[in-house]
């Protein structure tokens, strides 16, 4: 069986020794100990495993590692630079766009690919672009907002205020 012996991950050449048919997700998580990419379904249906391959958002759970050889693989671990969070990561915190946060890595990686292609997406374009990612906690509205914040389309902190409405006004 064909083997894969090296991978370009997060700008570094990594040595591995795995069958080419093994999933990229498994190699990232179990061999390279990059556990930020998550298993959610193993079928490309939930997006928790999303990484970038040559800049394209890819479901690593249904991608054989052999198909990623020689390409640039980017995972959530590479987004923060020099100890500073990526604008999307900042925006997810600002919009409180997570609950259990198990989907968050995949959401942020999908969103980064979306913004690379379309720096100022509309709400509809975000919804279409992100529809392959599941957040079972249901924070979609906040994730849309986080992507809008990161794209500069919306000022941060719409949810961050102390919206003490007491039924007087609607905070949405």
């Amino acid at each position: 069986m064909a083997k894969v012996t090296s991978l370009n991950v997060n700008g570094r050449k990594m040595t591995v020794d795995v069958d080419s048919t093994v999933s990229l997700l498994s190699v990232l998580r179990n061999d390279l100990e990059l556990t930020g990419s998550k298993y959610g379904c193993g079928e490309g249906q939930c997006g928790a495993c999303t990484v970038l391959i040559d800049g394209v958002a890819t479901r690593s759970c249904i991608t054989q590692v052999g198909r990623a050889g020689g390409k640039q693989i980017t995972t959530i671990e590479a987004l923060a630079k020099d100890g500073k969070l990526h604008p999307l990561q900042e925006a997810f915190i600002k919009a409180d766009a997570m609950q259990c946060a198990y989907c968050t890595s995949g959401m942020i990686m999908s969103a980064s690919a979306l913004l690379a292609k379309n720096p100022k997406p509309s709400r509809e374009e975000i919804i279409t672009g992100m529809n392959g990612n599941i957040c079972r906690c249901g924070t979609y509205q906040r994730i849309v907002e986080a992507i809008q914040i990161a794209s500069g389309a919306q000022a941060a902190g719409k949810y961050a205020g102390d919206a003490r409405t007491n039924g007087q006004e609607v905070a949405s």
Partner: protein, 735 residues
């Protein structure tokens, strides 16, 4: 208020959240604490109900370590020599942000920044016993206990600091974790006070805690604790844990539920390098150096199973109508549960101008937490340690101790902050499986369930049948209410409508599938049936559904959320188009009051949808929620939005399909959950009642959506749908 709470405690015994009663009565010793924590000061929080038995109350003195401590302890707080505050609680974090809100409560009471407080949660060796994180109990019960501990700590620390500084205690206050006297001429840090101490204090029960109107840190939108770790992929869920020498496991599952093993041939698997097969009764599993090999080996094992015929969705509701002969889903509740009947249904119906009798049904649905069940098990001699995502770390410890016939002090369960639960992670089957494999392998083993296993071998929200018989006068006064819930449960079964003659009952059934807790429990089913039926009655007497409810509801808190929602929604305005509909529902459960208004549109199906059916699109949802004093408005807002989105699935399309002991749709491609494209415009109205103790909020906001959508569909089409999910494949064109 008190009477109401007692009544609800009595009636809301929810059998799916009842587990074995506690067998423990640990006796803690001060020396254990000193050994465990080293120097500093430990504050012990006795359990509320055990105060009468409390011994050794108060200060023991530095020499009196051998004095007994209370047997039932809710939490403890340690202030170490560096001045770092660590709180130990058996509660767990599963995305509901209880780590953040409990941290806020302690910081608020102790007058230190949130960043100075760390919570150790859900570790059976480090934290006191806790029944589990469910039932929206963390905020109303654990937060006040932690506040008491923090308040006692604050007062004790002030006294110690005053002694050290040689000033009167009344002259000192704590600001940002520093002790200051009136002119700030004398200061001390927490570390300077804790240094060199070896103190264990039991907090007195009569300590006053800060009231919501005086909160400074609680009540504000503090950012989620560890948020930066989550967005960086650095948080370690159970799935991410790796131990030295760890192997990977895989279980060979039976072909159907309730199957018994006929034969097994594992020669091919055993021949694989590095593979070990573990067969113990009907338990068959493998371990291997990597996951791929484990899966390959498991697939290579030939197994024959046999089972008798089992029901499918087709027979489900007939099966549920038959009385229970066994108790599935965790014992406790006997037959015929409910509240005491009031008045006479016959009299109530006789007094009515209109009578109505209807049946409502609810299918099984799955929690589908994005992190499936997982466990890492490690044996060191006869001591077992298991990392697993569970809402009941101590319950899982009991399960493990029972399974391996060892005492509970030989088992440690550690729950890393978990990829959600929604009531679906109360059980420890994955932990037991991993521990069995690890025992055979003599090495740590990680076992992660696949999505298909999570959909199949976990448990479901109970299906149910609800019959309602009612009477109403032409002026809108309700006269009779007879309500029978078969199987789904008691939660939310009580009425807030003033109906002089009512009879409300719950009937347990033999559930064809394994069932258990789910966010809100039966409150969704009971609210769906009740609020749909109320809508039908309002239409029967030609009264606006909002006016009809307000006419029959006296409870001020429920009226307040109803009115707030209706106002924000613009109830009474005309529909934007003929294919749109408005619906309304309200309710009460677990100390929370909710009202939901929804606007839906009936549209042509999209390319991906069944052409024979129209599409139901949820356009807008407005929900008002009141759960007493708000601890963190931002996270409350988030919980309400999340509940609404999760509720869309159960309302419109989620349903477990099963036949003859098999789940037919155990994948996200077949079991549709809400996605971005299902997202309506959501508007949340928070009603803050600083005069009322905080209740939990992770569950009740889920109950209003399904009936509001059903009522909106009726408003748009004139068709009344009485089964959840309402439109799994869309709305049939003939309707």
């Amino acid at each position: 208020m008190i009477d109401e709470q007692m009544l609800s405690d009595e009636i809301e015994v929810e059998r799916y959240e009842l587990f074995e009663s506690l067998a423990y009565n640990f006796s803690f010793d001060r020396r254990d604490f000193i050994k465990a924590f080293g120097l500093g000061i430990v504050f012990i929080v006795p359990a509320t109900r055990a105060l009468a038995q409390q011994r050794g109350q108060g200060e023991s003195g530095r020499g009196g370590f051998n004095q007994s401590l209370p047997n039932d302890i809710d939490a403890w707080i340690h202030i170490d020599e560096k001045g770092e505050v660590t709180v130990f609680t058996g509660k767990v974090e599963v995305g509901q942000n209880t780590r953040t809100t409990l941290t806020q409560s302690v910081a608020d009471e102790l007058h230190v920044p949130v960043s100075a407080v760390r919570l150790v949660m859900g570790d059976t060796d480090l934290t006191p016993f806790d029944m589990g994180t469910f039932g929206s109990r963390s905020t109303p019960t654990m937060a006040p206990q932690l506040r008491k501990a923090a308040a006692a700590a604050r007062e004790a620390l002030l006294a110690m600091a005053a002694e050290q500084l040689n000033v009167a205690a009344g002259d000192l206050r704590i600001v940002d974790a520093r002790f200051l006297n009136h002119d700030k001429s004398k200061t001390l840090t927490l570390a300077e006070v804790a240094k060199g101490r070896k103190l264990v204090k039991v907090i007195p029960d009569n300590i006053a805690i800060t009231q919501p109107k005086d909160w400074t840190i609680a009540g504000t939108s503090v950012t989620k604790v560890d948020a930066a770790k989550y967005v960086s992929g650095k948080h370690q869920y159970t799935f991410d844990i790796k131990r030295d020498g760890m192997l990977y496991g895989k279980i060979v599952r039976p072909a159907t539920f309730n199957a018994s093993l006929v034969s097994v041939d594992s020669k091919a698997a055993e021949a694989m390098p590095g593979v070990k097969v573990v067969a113990d009764g009907s338990f068959i599993g493998v371990v291997a150096p990597d996951q791929q090999t484990a899966t390959k080996a498991a697939n290579a094992i030939a197994v024959d199973w046999k089972s008798a015929g089992q029901p499918s969705n087709k027979e489900l509701f007939d099966v549920l109508r038959k009385p229970a002969t066994n108790q599935r889903g965790g014992g406790g509740e006997g037959g015929g549960g409910g509240s005491r009947p009031q008045g006479s249904i016959a009299d109530g119906l006789a007094a009515a101008d209109k009578k109505l009798e209807q049946t409502y049904t609810v299918q099984y649905i799955a929690h589908a937490p994005l992190e499936p069940r997982a466990a890492v098990a490690e044996w060191n001699g006869d001591k077992l340690t298991v990392w697993t995502g569970s809402q009941r770390p101590f319950g899982v410890r009991t399960e493990l101790a029972d399974a391996f016939h060892i005492s509970e002090d030989k088992v440690r369960v550690i729950v890393p902050d978990t990829g959600s639960g929604y009531g679906g992670k109360h059980t420890g089957e994955c932990a037991i499986e991993a521990a069995r494999l690890a025992k055979a392998a003599g090495k740590p083993v990680k076992l992660t369930w696949t999505r298909e296993e999570e959909f199949t071998w976990a448990y479901f929200r109970p299906a149910g049948v609800i019959d309602i018989k009612s009477g109403v006068k032409n002026d809108g006064a309700l006269t009779a209410w007879e309500f029978h819930n078969y199987n789904s449960g008691l939660s939310g079964i009580q009425i807030k409508y003033e109906i002089p003659n009512n009879d409300i009952r719950f009937h347990p059934s033999n559930s064809p599938l394994k069932q258990g807790s789910y966010r809100g429990l039966a409150a969704t089913a009971n609210h769906f049936a009740r609020e749909s039926h109320i809508d039908e009655l309002a239409h029967a007497v030609n009264i606006d559904p909002l006016d009809f409810r307000l006419k029959n509801i006296k409870d001020e808190r429920l009226r307040a959320v109803l009115e707030a929602t209706a106002k924000a929604f613009g109830w009474g305005k005309s529909k934007p188009a003929g294919n749109h509909g408005f619906g309304l529902a309200c309710g009460f459960e677990k100390g929370g009051y909710v009202a939901t208004c929804a606007e839906i549109a009936v549209e042509p199906p999209s390319d991906k949808e069944d052409k024979a059916n129209k599409r139901i699109r949820i356009v807008r949802v407005v929900e008002a929620f009141e759960c007493g004093a708000i601890v963190n408005p931002r996270h409350l807002h988030n919980q309400i939005e999340g509940s609404i989105v999760m509720a869309i699935g159960g309302a419109l399309f989620e349903s477990i399909q099963f036949d003859n002991g098999k789940i037919l749709n155990p994948h996200f491609a077949q079991y549709r959950v809400p996605r971005f494209s299902d997202l309506p415009k959501i508007e949340v109205v928070l009603v803050d009642r600083k005069d009322i103790p905080s209740a939990g909020a992770g569950e009740t906001p889920i109950v209003g959506l399904a009936p509001a959508i059903g009522n909106a569909i009726f408003n748009a089409t004139g068709v009344r749908l009485r089964s959840l999910p309402l439109a799994p494949k869309g709305l049939a064109n003939q309707t």
